[in-house]
Structures are given as structure tokens and as C-alpha cells.
Amino acid sequence: MKRFQGTNRNKVKLKVQIPPVRSVLGLLTLLFAVSWAQAQDMDTLPAGMTGSGMDAVEVSERPEVVLNSPEITNVMDVPSDDGGMILINWKSPEGDTKPDHYILELKGPDGLWQIATRTVLTAYQVTGLPNFVPFSFRVKAVYGNEFTVSDISEEVVAKDHWVKLGKLPVFIAIFLFVVILIAFLHAARSGVDLFVRRISGLTEVENAIGRATEMGKPVLYVPGSSSIEDVATLAALNILGEVARRTVHHDVKIICPNRDPIVYTIAREIVKETYASEGRPDAFDPDSVFFMVPDQFAYAAGVDGIMVREKPATIFLMGMFWAESLIMAETGASTGAVQIAGTDAVAQLPFFITACDYTLIGEELYAASAYLSREPLLLATLKSQDYGKLIFMIIMAVFTFLALLFGLDVVSLIQVR
């Protein structure tokens, strides 16, 4: 078995000259100050910051002025969407008097005019329309108690399209991630050493199982209380394999109660596979991984019962948890077991941190199986996760820089619609 060898491994060299802390702080302050000063000079609000609601436009009471009607400039099916949407633009009426607001109306095949929206803007995206049904539109400009009406627009149908362009940023991000992943997988296959720093919660896993052997007591593994749809459950199942491997080596009993029948099926296969691959298929107890109950608190009650009756030496609480997190963690703490928890449920992390000995916070849970196994291919996924993060950090910093200093609309580049 490959073991973690800490710092004497080859390190990725960080050759960049590291600036001192003070200059980083100074730079940040400077950026803030410059952009602040720039923003104060602007006399108009940038787009999207105009006040919303009716109070944005002053009502003027001048009935003698002739009120002009608005004009529809553009009616079109929203391109590259999943259908049901039509975009309408119109021009505000000429003249000094500005309307309070507009009423956009639409007419379907039933021939009745219906209100689509009331708005102060001069564009609107109608949603939820049936596809391939013609609709026509008109805009009313409302001045106090009076209004003027635009000409009726041509008929337009909403269509669904093959490619949703609004999702393009998601596609690019995934593509980028896959490229990084494949690069690292390639590197791992060709034997490049992938460095990962020490993660304290994870190095304790070995020790904790060692402790269970000394005491001759079982290990309790709770793979979260969610179903397979939660990726955290998958991560927990991956870690289960690593924990089971160590229990085989130390010849300790593993107890794994489950809440979801599909998770139970996979968990059982994983433990069985581990016993087989470690050459001890006979030692696999089919009753060690079992299904308990699909009810959230009944599961917590049952796990509590196992904790106080079986008195496991080590308890793993991995995966997705809700309110039952502290019920399990506190009961476990009262039995004196070593507890290692890991979840990406941010609301439950504080409880694990207070009640457990070691906690894997958020993405550490996802890093765990790679870290524990030290298998190059798994480490490659961990590295891609890490470098993906680096790229997003850079984007965050650079885009802020561009937006603040040059006022570029960079946010729309990554906006998902």
C-alpha cells in the first residue's frame, strides 16, 4: 500500500517571487480607493442601477400637452432558448411628457387582449408562452389617468431551439475543467509526482482506525442521510472503500447502517469488493452493511442506539446531513469514540466542528478518497479540482480589477441565463 510520505516528496515549485504581506494590503487599499474615487465622479448611475418602481418617473400634470404614443421597434423570438419566450422593445413616445409607466399587452389566437406586464422600462421578455402559436403585441403608455396606444405589432411565434446559448458559460467552464482533468490524468499516467499538502483531518483517519484495533472495538461508518442524487453521498461512498480497506488490514469489524436503499446496495458492493480485493472475501460479514430506515429521525434514533450499544471506537460521519448531524455527533461524543466527520452541508458544519474530533470541511470531503488512497489517477482528479479553483480565483480577481478600473461589463461574460 502506498503511504503518504509528507514533505520529503517532490514539491511543485512555486517560483513566483512572493511579495510581502504589506504590499498586498497596500495594493488592495489602493485599488479600493481609486475605484471609489472614480465612482464618485460619475454623475449618472450605471445601467441596472436606475431606481425601479413607479417613483422613478415623475408624474407631470400638463393635460394641454398632446400625448404621443409609444412605438414598438422590435418583436422577436428569443434566440437559443428553450422556447416560450418573446422579446419586445419599444421606443418611448416623443415629446416632453414622459409616461408614468407602460402596459404591454398581448393577443393570442383567442383574439383577446391580455396584460403581459406593467413596467417602466422599454423592453420586456414575455415568458411561458406556448411554442409555435402566433402572438401580437401592443404597448400602452400611461399618463396619470390617460394613456396612448402603439400600433399593433406583427405576429410572432416563440420557438424552442437546439442549443441553449444562455448556458454557454457553464459549458465553457465544464470544458475547461475536463481539459485540466485530462491533462492531470495524462500526467499521472506518465508518472509525474502529484504533490498534495497534508490535510489534518485525513491523516487522522489512519490513527483512528489503529486505535479501534487496539481496543478491539468496531468502526461505525455513517454514509450520510441522503440519496445517491447528492454528490456528497458519492464522496462518502468513495471514502467508505478506503476505510473498509484499513479495517480489513487491522481485522476490525465495520458497521455501516444506511438510510437509502440504493445507497445501501452500492455501499454493500463497495465493502464486499474491498474485502475481495484485499484477499479476505471470507471475512466479509453480509450483515455489516445493512439498510435501516428511510425516515430521517428514525435513522438518527437507530444510529444513536448503535452508538451506545456497540460502543464503537471510531465513528465516521461522512456525506450529506441535515438536522440529525448534532444528534449523532453528540451521542457519539458521549460514548467517548473518536469521531471524524465530513460534509458539504454548510449549515451542519459548525456542529461537527464543535462535537467531533476532526472535521472535513466542504471540499475536503471530496478530496478525501484521493488523499487516502494516494492512487495517481484519483490524485489527478484532486489536482484538477484544485487548479479549477485557482482559475476561478484568478477570474474573480482579474474581473473585479477590470470592472473597477476600466468600468468594463465583465459580469455579463459569466452570466448564466
Partner: protein, 301 residues
């Protein structure tokens, strides 16, 4: 080991002692509740209250999506009751719907409770009578959640042909208020009472598409999830857990002197506050013991 200091003993006190203390500070105020001064949160509770106060009488409609479960009852039920009370006082029409079958009982209970309160007062000559169909309609439940959330934007009669009691929704002689309500555009605000992020779903689907104001009544646990929406103005105020409900009860009591209904959240707040205080004292005590013990040890070398 006789040289264990009092600090050390206190630090390792049996957890059952703590449980006992908690139980006592919780039970005593339940049996003997007391009143507490409550500070109103401006950004959340007051904002919502003022928004509802500004609705025009008689023709405004407050649409409540009551999605509370029995386990959230202590926090969320008082909110529902308060909203209904406020609307009835202000002669605002109330439309109630549930997205989960488990919420039906509690929603109906709240409506019955408030209408009985008003009718009892009315029989003594105070206030007005509440009539089903004129002042409120209970739509019942329609799965899955996304169907009514989106469908109500188009046509309420497609989603709910009948109300919870089996009356035709289009039968305007029994349900006169439905004559003027067709979809979100005829409603003034959506109030979503839920222990999860349903208010966000309403923002995403109902507000984004149909431009209706949305407010939320949420549990204290999930409050933090909603602050971004409160900042951006997508949520018109909200009620935060039992505290928010108690504040709202107080506001109603202040504004409408005839209101004499039971203030569940305010009552619960006394047990809540004592327990809170107990926890805070325990944390302080735990730390005092910890530091005293450390000083003791360092002095001994």
C-alpha cells in the same frame, strides 16, 4: 485525586446536569409565561408590515403559500396567524395555498382560528365579520410544487378548478372575491411560509416572470440564506423565526387596539429567551472555568 479544583470539576460536569438545567429553564416559562419588550427589526419585520399597511383596502390580495410542517409549527404557525390577522384587520383579501399535503391541516387551523376570533369579536359588536369567499379563500394543495407556482401566473382556475372545500372557484356567488383574481397580476404580494428555500423559488419563478412582490416567513436556521435577496430588494421584508413572528404580533397589537387574539410567538419567546440566556450563561461559565483552571495550572507550574 483529591486536588481537583472546583474549576476542573465544573468543567467535567456530567452532561445530564446541563440537560436538566435546560429542561427547567424551558418548562417554567411555558407554564408561567411573561411579557418581554421586543425591539422591531427595521429591515425585515417593519418593512413587511409597512408594505402591507400601504395596500389599498378592499381590493388588495395577499397570496399566502403556507408550507409549514408540524415540526416547524412553533416558529412558522404564529407568522401565518399574524399575516391573516393583519389582512383581515386591513380588509385585504387573503388567498391561501399549500404545496405539501402535510401543511393542509395547519393552514386550515390558522384560517379557522383567526376567522373565529374575528367573528366572536363581531358578535360582541367589535370589528367586522369574516366571511369565507368574501374575505378569504383556501385553495388547498396541488402537487408538485412547481405546477401551482408557475400555473398561478397564468390562470388560477386551471390549477385550482375547485377550492379546498370543493366549491367551484368560478362560482362567484359563493366565492365573490375570486371574480377579480385571475393570476399573479391581480395579487399584491406573495407571502411564502416555509422551512426551506421556497421563497427563493417564488422569486425565481413568480417574481422574475410576473413581477409580483415576494415576502417570506422563514425559520431562524435558514435566515442567512435570504439576506442576499433582502438586500437586492427581491424580498419585501421577511419574518425571521419566532423572533420575527413575535415582533409582528407586537406590531399588530399596537396598530389595532381591538386585537385580542393569543400571541403564540410572544408567549414562546419567554421560554426561548430564558433558554437562550441559560445557554449564554453556560458558555460564559464554561470559559470562566477553563481560564481559571489554566491560571491555576500555570501558577502551580
Amino acid at each position: 485525586m483529591n486536588d481537583r479544583t472546583i474549576w476542573e470539576k465544573m468543567m467535567q460536569v456530567d452532561r445530564r446536569v446541563i440537560y436538566l438545567i435546560v429542561a427547567i429553564v424551558m418548562i417554567v416559562p411555558i407554564i408561567f409565561p411573561f411579557d418581554l419588550p421586543i425591539k422591531i427589526s427595521k429591515r425585515t419585520t417593519l418593512k413587511l408590515f409597512n408594505a402591507i399597511e400601504k395596500f389599498p383596502e378592499q381590493r388588495s390580495v395577499f397570496f399566502i403559500s403556507a408550507d409549514l410542517n408540524p415540526q416547524d409549527q412553533p416558529e412558522l404557525y404564529p407568522m401565518l396567524v399574524s399575516w391573516i390577522r393583519h389582512c383581515f384587520h386591513r380588509k385585504i383579501k387573503v388567498l391561501v395555498m399549500c404545496l405539501y399535503p402535510t401543511s393542509l391541516g395547519l393552514a386550515e387551523q390558522a384560517l379557522n382560528q383567526v376567522s373565529t376570533e374575528f367573528n366572536n369579536r363581531a358578535s360582541q359588536g367589535i370589528g367586522r365579520r369574516i366571511v369565507y369567499g368574501e374575505d378569504y379563500v383556501f385553495l388547498g394543495y396541488k402537487p408538485p410544487p412547481i405546477v401551482p407556482i408557475l400555473g398561478l401566473g397564468e390562470n388560477i382556475f386551471d390549477v385550482f378548478p375547485r377550492d379546498f372545500y370543493g366549491n367551484e372557484l368560478k362560482d362567484y356567488s359563493t366565492l365573490p372575491m375570486m371574480e377579480n383574481i385571475k393570476n399573479y397580476r391581480d395579487m399584491d404580494m406573495i407571502g411564502s411560509i416555509a422551512a426551506n428555500t421556497l421563497p427563493v423559488t417564488y422569486i425565481a419563478y413568480a417574481q422574475a416572470r410576473y413581477g409580483i412582490a415576494v415576502t417570506g416567513g422563514v425559520t431562524a436556521v435558514s435566515v442567512a440564506d435570504f439576506y442576499p435577496y433582502l438586500d437586492s430588494g427581491q424580498l419585501t421584508g421577511m419574518l425571521e423565526g419566532m423572533k420575527g413572528a413575535a415582533e409582528y404580533e407586537g406590531l399588530i397589537r399596537e396598530t389595532f387596539p381591538e386585537e385580542d387574539g393569543r400571541r403564540l410567538a410572544t408567549e414562546g419567546m419567554s421560554a426561548q429567551s430564558t433558554t437562550h440566556l441559560a445557554i449564554i450563561l453556560m458558555v460564559v461559565l464554561g470559559n470562566v472555568c477553563f481560564f481559571m483552571q489554566r491560571r491555576h495550572e500555570s501558577r502551580r507550574g
